[in-house]
Amino acid sequence: MVAPLFVFLLIVFVAPIGSMMLRSVRDVELSDVWPQTAAALQGWTDRAHIPSEAVFAALAADMKASKAAGVQAVPARRLNYAVEGGRTLVFGTLRKLPETANSWTDVFLAADPRWGDIETWSAIDQASGPLTSFFLLAAMDRQKHADGTITPTPANRRVYLDVLARTFEVSAVVTTLCLLLGFPVAYLLATQPPARANLLMILVLLPFWTSLLVRTAAWIVVLQEHGLLNNALIALHLIDRPLQLIYNRTGVYVAMTHVLLPFAILPLYSVMKGVKGVYMRAAMSLGARPTVAFLRVYAPQTIPGLAAGGLLVFILALGYYITPELIGGAADQMLSHFIAYYTADTVNWGMASALGALLLVATLALYAVYNRLVGRPA
């Protein structure tokens, strides 16, 4: 009886994600279009010097064939990922290729001196697939050289470690805010009589069930330049001119905290429901002042809830896409944005998959921790 759903999910869920992960290490774009070059480069063993004439001849033949087939842009784009100006290198050289030549090596070197550069050939070799570490290394701002060493990418092409750090930073701030705001609410819900607690719970569940897009739209209305909050503050003479509350980090923090707060409140609430009031009363009857009793007796018992709620919010925040996309500025975009961008806008699927692999590994690792904490038999 489990089989239908299991098989269904294997086909429509696990397989797509698995094939996406494969794409992060599979690299056949270039070798599909330039098969002779990819094959000839197999014989390039002396990595201290540029390849032999046979490789240059193979590349010339491949380039002409790809132009005739109208697919010359594919290897050019792939090379551009690894070599600065790789696209112009391919197109510029293509324009200068004669019908025949005695030495293709000389032709190429005359067309563009970068063909004498070992790094150019190393990039082509690394892009010749079928397996590559290029995208995964690039996702961590690393590159591999002809001699096999791995070094940080030059500063002007370094982006992803920043994005990763930003993703973790935003998630950490949002998690902290959610726990700070969620704690008093969860405590109140857990200590009120059931009828009143149920009523107050609606105030948590209503936003929880409201569509993400509706809540995002609501925050734009509230936070924008002439939005409700700015107008109210001006009317109260608290500020003279509107504050910039949206399309920046402030907006992202506010809106993401709003969306994720129920995910912090609900686990906290369920843990606090299980904390027995009798310990607090015992502490106080033994002479502890209420503040001390709360901090030393009650609060430690809520740590499982804080950990579970915090991890849950953090995991969900890591993969956030819509809210930063609509409320953040260019400098607030997180990992998900770049994954979607490389998929739909620039068609750099290898990069999208490598960043996706990074995000997936981080999420699953944190989820494993969460599972141990909550102790669900899953």
């Binding site: 009886m1 489990v2 239908p4 759903l5 299991f6 999910l9 429509v12 869920f13 696990v14 797509p16 994600i17 996406m20 705001l181 969620g182 609410v185 405590y187 109140l188 200590t191 569940l205 209503l206 936003p207 069930w209 409201t210 569509s211 993400l212 897009l213 509706v214 809540r215 739209a217 609501a218 925050w219 734009i220 209305v221 509230v222 002439h226 939005g227 409700l228 107008n231 709003h258 129920p262 002042r289 209420p290 503040t291 709360f294 993969g319 896409y321 819509i322 609509l326 998900s336 994954i339 979607a340 739909a344 699927w349 996706g356 995000l359 997936l360 999420t363 699953l364 038999p377 899953a378």
Partner: protein, 275 residues
């Protein structure tokens, strides 16, 4: 806490702090959502208070717009179809998981619940790569399959929870009275776990109704759903029509929430009656 003992000043101070903090958070949670509703009845196009006057023009625009109406319809078509698939498969799986013990159960459970955990953008990109070559991108079928996968775990979780309180001697009784497995399932098991199945279905519908990232990547304009159309609207031109659509969507959410609450009360009443 309400004992006969009088509260000390210190306790009263902290209770006041607690209530003010909690009320502030409640306002933060609910106010933005409630603030958008009156704006949808504003007679002029300003998205701020005070309102210029009452009017239904933004609702008229919404109902007169071919794109919005198509999105409205799509949301319900995709949502219902995905809910049907997710509920059918999810209920079966939950019954199977509870009734039988088999090797690798933990692994199977992890796969069944994985759509809840994997970041949505990865799911969407995976579908995009996978569906495009087999012609399922830009089709209703692709969207329904994707949303079914996303909704199924909610059904598995809610139905499994309901089955925890299920008395297994009932199925044995049915079998001893000559009922086949199918008859037992439909006439004994299903009526008892009905509220759980219905809550699972509501969750699955909400998951589809609220989903936008997958739609963003794999749907053609003909399959755009309400959240997708809202995404475009917010991006390109934030008109007050969006506040009207938002209000309609809030009403849908409230209906879902109320139905869930009613189901929960019924389940509670049932389990109390049993004891």
């Amino acid at each position: 806490m309400a004992g006969p003992r009088r509260r000390t000043l210190e306790e009263r101070f902290w209770i006041a702090v607690l209530w003010s903090a909690a009320i502030a958070v409640f306002v933060f949670l609910v106010a933005p959502i409630l603030a958008i509703v009156p704006l949808s009845f504003n007679s002029r196009e300003f998205l701020t208070y005070p309102l210029s006057g009452f009017s239904l023009r933004w609702y008229q625009q919404f109902f007169a717009s071919a794109e919005w109406m198509r999105a409205f319809k799509n949301s319900f078509i995709v949502g219902s179809a995905a809910t049907a698939v997710a509920t059918g498969l999810g209920t079966l799986a939950a019954v199977g998981l509870t009734m039988a013990n088999f090797r690798g159960k933990g692994f199977v459970m992890a796969v069944l619940l994985s759509p809840m955990i994997v970041p949505i953008v990865i799911v969407a990109v995976g579908f995009y790569f996978f569906f495009a070559p087999i012609g399922l991108a830009s089709s209703y079928l692709g969207l329904v399959l994707a949303h079914s996968a996303l909704g199924a775990p909610f059904v598995v979780v809610t139905v499994t929870a309901t089955l925890q309180g299920f008395d297994r001697s009932l199925t044995r009784a049915a079998a001893s009275l000559g009922a086949g497995p199918l008859e037992t399932f439909f006439r004994v098991v299903l009526p008892l776990i009905g509220p759980g199945v219905a809550s699972g279905a509501l969750f699955a519908f909400a998951a589809s109704f609220d989903e936008v990232v997958v739609v963003l990547l794999i749907a053609a304009p003909e399959q755009r759903t309400l959240p997708r159309e809202m995404f475009a609207g917010i991006r390109e031109n934030f008109s007050p029509v969006i506040t009207a659509v938002a209000t309609v969507m809030i009403v849908v959410s409230i209906i879902l929430l109320l139905s869930l609450e009613l189901l929960r009360r019924r389940t509670e009443a049932m389990s109390r009656a049993k004891r």
